[in-house]
Amino acid sequence: MNLTAVKAIYIFEMARFFRTLTQSFISPVISTALYFVVFGSAIGSRIQEVDGVSYGAFIVPGLIMLSIMTQGISNASFGIYFPKFIGTIYELLAAPINFLEIVVGYVGAAATKSLFIGLVILATAGLFVDLNIQHPIAMLAFMVLTCTSFALFGFIIGIWAKSFEQLQLIPLLVLTPLVFLGGSFYSISMLPPVWQTVTLFNPVVYLISGFRWAFFGLADVPVGLSLLAIAGFTGICLVAVWWIFKTGWRIRS
């Protein structure tokens, strides 16, 4: 493992983040505040409590998940797509490094960024509602795992994409609906039975449910299943990355 190279990639990628730190910091704060105003106040005035948790607090895990998933994907996909787009990828290809080191550098940086944003949202949410996190370590673990696996997923999208449109396509077309329909802002038990069953095919449900369990000790699906789901998703991404590595798909002509 060429650790110096991994570090170089990581630092270089983080520099992009720090260049726009204010922006990286302000936008999640504002959007979180907005969510609280819209969902917390408007809907919260009708739904006071879900399973004994105030609605404002109830949506916090979903809100964080929504952000770290989309941020993880967009950071990592942009991170690797940009060098492809402007041509600086030649340097990665000509360096004495293998694909694994490239992945660790880029995905590590992207995961760090989304983790940072997740924590910023958590802190912002703490200003609006009382948060009493029941399993803090599990919460952090879920967050790190989600950041990492979605950054991996984003990395694959970045390698696959041939245009900026394609880069936006998956997050917009696939992820956003899955997250909104994944119980971010409601409990699955609030849906009619048919939809409850349908929802169980949505992988995001498992992530949000597990994450929410770490906060409040309540879950739509068993925590074990949630862990399995995220492990499975990470596994699939790793296999895809390994295959890309083997074949040089869309990187080396």
């Binding site: 060429n2 170089a8 990639i9 630092i11 940009f82 402007i86 600086t88 360096a95 490094i97």
Partner: protein, 309 residues
């Protein structure tokens, strides 16, 4: 002489079936400057890309200081610095960070003093905190060179380093290249400028349509350049070279009006005086005289045309 790069029967077929390299074999001596000449699309960049790991070769063997570029890619690539043809740089990053990144990527420990030396040599030190997008085109080219040198390579590839670079900067670059050579770095450069190859290369290779047409010491090429032609235009056409002139090896044109005499400018006697004497003795009336020198360009053009025929 020890060779540092050995390419054997290298073939590259791009996706879609285009054969960009058709079995190129080439040995590069340690410490030399090799200039690769060739028209657009000849395969120069493809050749460099396969050595550096940017594209994979379809078949053939590439060894850098004995290391196979596929099996021992780490060892091989550590030795190589690459200045690509296109100016590809991260626009928002500073010169300093970009160069430092390149060094780290090659697994070299941080060495600010060394990077400062490079940036100073390339007159970029004042610009080290500027973002790339704030630099002029020539400066960006130099940043590419700084990046390529950041990890102290033993072999440096320069893919058309002087394209779009003004005369004084070009001279500076040649100086830098010569300095690197003095430090023992092997340099392979591609260029469209024949004067450039003449000015700095030890050996010159000509490549066209994926084939290496020639690779030769510049000195011996120059000897071929030493050949000059004297063209004699006659007042009246003749049907054959007169017997009295047969010793001079003259070539008669088809219309019978011009005679061409080849001679070596470096020889003690060119034989021109003798020839002119013999011409008038044979009763030929001269209308005009012309001399012409072979240039590397002629050789190049001839080779390329032969290759196309």
């Amino acid at each position: 002489m020890r060779s540092i790069l050995d390419i054997t029967d290298l073939k590259k077929v791009y996706e879609g079936g285009f054969e960009a390299l058709k079995g190129v074999s080439l040995s590069i001596h340690e410490g030399e400057i090799l200039a690769l000449l060739g028209p657009n699309g000849a395969g120069k960049t493809t050749l460099i890309s396969t050595v550096c790991g940017i594209t994979t070769n379809t078949s053939g063997d590439i060894r850098v200081d004995g290391y196979c570029v596929k099996d021992d890619y780490r060892a091989a690539r550590r030795l190589i610095g690459l200045v690509p043809q296109e100016v590809n740089l991260e626009p928002f990053e500073t010169v300093w960070n970009t160069v430092r990144f390149s060094r780290g990527l090659h697994g070299k420990r941080r060495d600010d003093a060394y990077l400062e030396k490079i940036l100073r040599k390339l007159s970029l030190w004042e610009k080290k905190s500027s973002r790339i997008m704030e630099l002029s085109g020539g400066m960006k080219r130099r940043v590419l060179i700084a990046k390529a040198l950041s990890h102290e390579p033993r072999i440096l590839f320069l893919d058309e380093p002087t394209a779009g670079v003004d005369v004084s900067l070009r001279k500076d670059m040649w100086d830098t290249v010569n300095e690197l050579k003095r430090d023992g770095v092997t340099i392979i450069l591609t260029t469209h400028y024949i004067e450039e190859a003449e000015a700095i290369a030890d050996r010159i290779g000509v490549i066209n349509k994926g084939e290496l047409l020639l690779i030769e010491e510049k000195a011996s090429l120059m000897q071929r350049l030493g050949q000059k032609q004297l063209t004699v235009e006659l007042q009246d056409a003749v049907t054959a070279v007169p017997d009295a002139l047969s010793d001079h090896g003259l070539v008669l044109s088809e219309d019978g009006r011009t005679l061409t005499y080849s001679y070596d400018t470096q020889a003690d006697r060119t034989g021109i005086t003798q020839l002119l004497g013999d011409l008038s003795a044979a009763g030929l009336v001269l209308k005009d005289l012309q001399t012409a020198q072979n240039s590397l360009e002629d050789i190049f053009v001839t080779l390329v045309e032969e290759g196309q025929a």
